[in-house]
């Protein structure tokens, strides 16, 4: 009664109680969203007229929850053949997971939802509330594909590659720089992005498995006794099998399924672990640009240039000329897509890998409609970079450009090129960096004769 000294206090207390109640039951727990587009792709390929059933999809969700936990309480699977702790640190994940806030000591919680989820979504599906307003769309992590990295196409990125993107942001897109966050928080976010990617890739593995490997009964984690009974009967001229035989078949299938689930999950982790291994074994190491320029200078001197008069600018100009030849030549072949004037207008009708996977390169209207219904963003054509702007999404260090030319860009039509020697790649990098300052054409001078003709 002491709170209710007058009516105003009473009202305030009542309102406070009402809001506390709202917060308690008004906001449900955050949930991971199903990978509907990929499930759709798999069920179509499997020839299911009506798609996977609600029970089949629920089964996949249950297995995923058992392996990876929830957005509020992440967990990691225990796998016999892979050490998951080599890749993911659960204590960092816990810092990034959950709702936004801080604990009693002021340490933050829910970093992913604070900084990332509004664009990339709770699930990392690239479909947060702001996603449809952005161009390009935010990355969908669930395929495990990332564009800007030091590893070649086909390999997962390194931890450092993702960290660089979080720190620097992506110029020319809505992805901002998080340079001002403490290192510990950036680390937590990178770990969480990897976690969401791995979880999504596992979901893909499961649906892919349901599509073709698993055929006796169509559940990921267990056998359907009715299906087992029918199959036993089919194999025995239609005679109804004994209950014991059914039980045995179900138990055997369940065992196989558990092995399959472990196998699918291990495959995903192995891909991430392999990437680091590949980089240490890569035979085509990145060379230094200064070395490349020194070698070129020696070459020019050997060919008769006056060593004393040969300035660094002259060596660079020669390198850019050579790069230009490669750009328009058959081995570089850059102009095919980046266009005859490098304005990025050579190839305009293509789509990125995340879109092509679902609707193909020459999509039909029905397919686009179907996948949009299942969560695909409205497809947009992918544009080759306009190299006259001097804005490079993967970073503007010469090394970043070197990697783009050498390795290609994952999930895009940009191919890797291992026919170019490291020296030649540096020439191309030098030429590409000079493009924003190169004249597109030599404008014709006004011709005085014209005026005379008109008169």
């Amino acid at each position: 009664m002491s709170v209710c000294r007058n009516w105003r206090h009473c009202l305030a207390a009542l309102l406070a109680a009402a809001f506390a109640g709202l917060a308690g039951c008004g906001s449900p727990d955050a949930k991971f969203v199903e990978y509907r587009t990929y499930a759709r792709l798999s069920e179509k390929a499997a020839g299911y007229e009506n798609g996977f059933t609600h029970l089949q999809r629920q089964d996949v969700n249950n297995v995923l929850a058992a392996l990876y936990g929830t957005p509020d309480a992440p967990s990691l699977p225990a796998l016999a053949n892979v050490d998951v702790t080599k890749l993911l640190d659960i204590s960092k994940l816990k810092l990034a997971a959950g709702s936004v806030g801080s604990d009693g000591k002021g340490r933050p919680r829910g970093l992913y939802r604070e900084h990332c989820a509004h664009c990339h979504g709770i699930t990392g599906d690239g479909n947060g509330p702001t996603a449809s307003f952005l161009n390009p769309y935010p990355r969908d992590y669930r395929a495990g594909l990332f564009k800007f990295k030091s590893t070649p196409i086909g390999y997962r990125p390194l931890h450092e590659d993702l960290k660089k993107i979080v720190i620097d942001g992506i110029p020319g897109t809505a992805m901002p720089s998080f340079r001002l966050l403490p290192d510990q928080e950036i680390e937590a976010l990178v770990e969480y992005v990897k976690y969401l990617a791995i979880r999504g890739e596992t979901e893909r593995q499961f649906y892919n498995g349901l599509k073709d490997d698993i055929s006796e009964s169509d559940f990921l984690s267990h056998a359907d006794p009715a299906v087992a009974a029918k199959e036993l009967a089919d194999g025995n001229d239609g005679k109804a099998p004994a209950q014991k035989a059914i039980d045995e078949k179900v138990a055997e299938t369940d065992k196989q399924r558990l092995e399959a689930i472990k196998g699918y999950t291990e495959t995903v982790f192995q891909k991430w672990l392999e990437a680091a291994e590949f980089m240490t074994q890569d035979t085509v190491k990145v060379t230094n640009r200064n070395d490349a320029m020194r070698v070129l200078r020696e070459e020019l001197v050997a060919a008769g240039s006056n060593e004393k008069k040969l300035t660094d600018e002259m060596v660079l100009a020669e390198s850019q000329q050579r790069g230009r030849k490669l750009f328009y030549g058959p081995i570089g072949n850059c102009f095919t897509c980046h266009g005859p004037t490098a304005l990025g207008d050579g190839q305009l009708g293509d789509y990125d890998g995340w879109t092509v996977e679902l609707i193909g390169k020459t999509p039909k209207k029905e397919d686009i409609k179907d996948y949009i219904k299942h969560g695909m963003p409205e497809p947009r054509n992918i544009r080759p970079r306009n190299l006259r702007h001097g804005v490079y999404r993967g970073g503007m260090r010469p090394l970043d450009l070197y990697w783009r030319v050498r390795n290609g860009i994952e999930g895009t039509p940009m191919p890797g090129n291992d026919k170019l020697k490291p020296q030649e790649i540096w020439h191309l990098v030098n030429y590409v960096q000079s493009l924003p300052y190169e004249q597109i054409s030599n404008p014709y001078e006004a011709v005085p004769e014209n005026r005379r003709e008109r008169n």
């Binding site: 020839g47 196409i153 055929s215 196989q256 092995e259 390169k361 020459t362 191919p415 890797g416």
Partner: protein, 262 residues
């Protein structure tokens, strides 16, 4: 003496049974279309026009003989259930396997559907004067997207079984497409222009095979020697015996074959 004879007899018997365990059989099949063959669509040739347009390129999904109805490019491959034993490999396949060659020729991939046993290497050539870049979106193997200059080639080693054929495309020429099936065993074949295929030297025993065509994915419905059949996810169970095993003539209705292309 008697004991020795008995012993020798036992050994002979053992040898006989183990020889029997290593019987090998061939699987044959012939695919015929039921209905009128669809007319291939013209490809939208919008790059390197002066080189490519003269080849009168078409969508190569359906290569069907108008007269006999023979369906080319049907794929049949052995697909053991997950968690079950893998098939033994016949010694013939282990002797220095040849490379699988895929060419970029006249602005198209040739052949259109290829199979690769992981002991083989994949060589992608470019016999055209212009650059091609070949992109493969593998699920299990390491995907790639490589620039191949005119007259050049690249060589790839693939190590893992893919559960379905993987699409190959060219970033420079959007109409180009091909499919490659990668398996850790050599038991896969593509039907020829007569609609016929043979998978050789399969270990004797009960096996599951998958029937696949680009136009519909898994072939799920058809007629086998006049009897209506349904193959869930294109899976067909066959007992392979020593010598030739014939699936007979498999008729696929045109509505089933063109399912995903409609």
């Amino acid at each position: 003496m008697k004991l020795k004879l008995l012993f020798m007899f036992a050994i002979a018997l053992l040898a006989a049974t183990s020889a029997q365990a290593q019987d090998w059989g061939n699987l044959k099949a012939k695919f015929i279309l039921e209905g009128t063959a669809p007319t291939p669509e013209k490809a939208n040739v919008n790059k390197d026009v002066e080189l490519c347009l003269k080849h009168k390129l078409v969508d190569e999904t359906f290569k069907i003989d108008a007269k006999s109805g023979a369906i080319q490019n049907v794929l049949v491959f052995l697909s053991p259930k997950p968690g079950t034993a893998k098939p033994k490999i016949h010694p013939d396949f282990l002797k220095a396997p040849s490379d699988v060659v895929l060419d970029n020729l006249n602005c198209r991939f040739t052949p259109h559907i290829v199979t690769l046993y992981t002991a083989q290497k994949l060589v992608i050539k470019n016999s055209d004067p212009v650059g091609h870049n070949t992109k493969a979106d593998f699920f299990e193997n390491v995907p790639f997207n490589d620039q191949i200059p005119g007259g050049g080639s690249i060589t790839k080693t693939l190590t893992k079984t893919e559960s379905a054929p993987t699409p190959l495309s060219c970033g420079s020429h959007p109409w180009m497409s091909a499919k490659i099936l990668v398996r850790e065993d050599p038991y896969a074949a593509v039907s020829n222009e007569k609609g016929e295929l043979t998978i050789e030297n399969i270990p004797a025993g009960k096996w599951t095979f998958t029937i696949w065509h680009e136009g519909c994915g898994f072939v799920t419905v058809g007629q086998q020697d006049g009897k209506a059949k349904e193959w869930k996810k294109g899976k067909i169970d066959v007992e392979i015996k020593k010598g030739d095993n014939n699936l007979g003539e498999i008729k696929i209705p045109v509505a089933v074959l063109t399912k995903s292309k409609k």
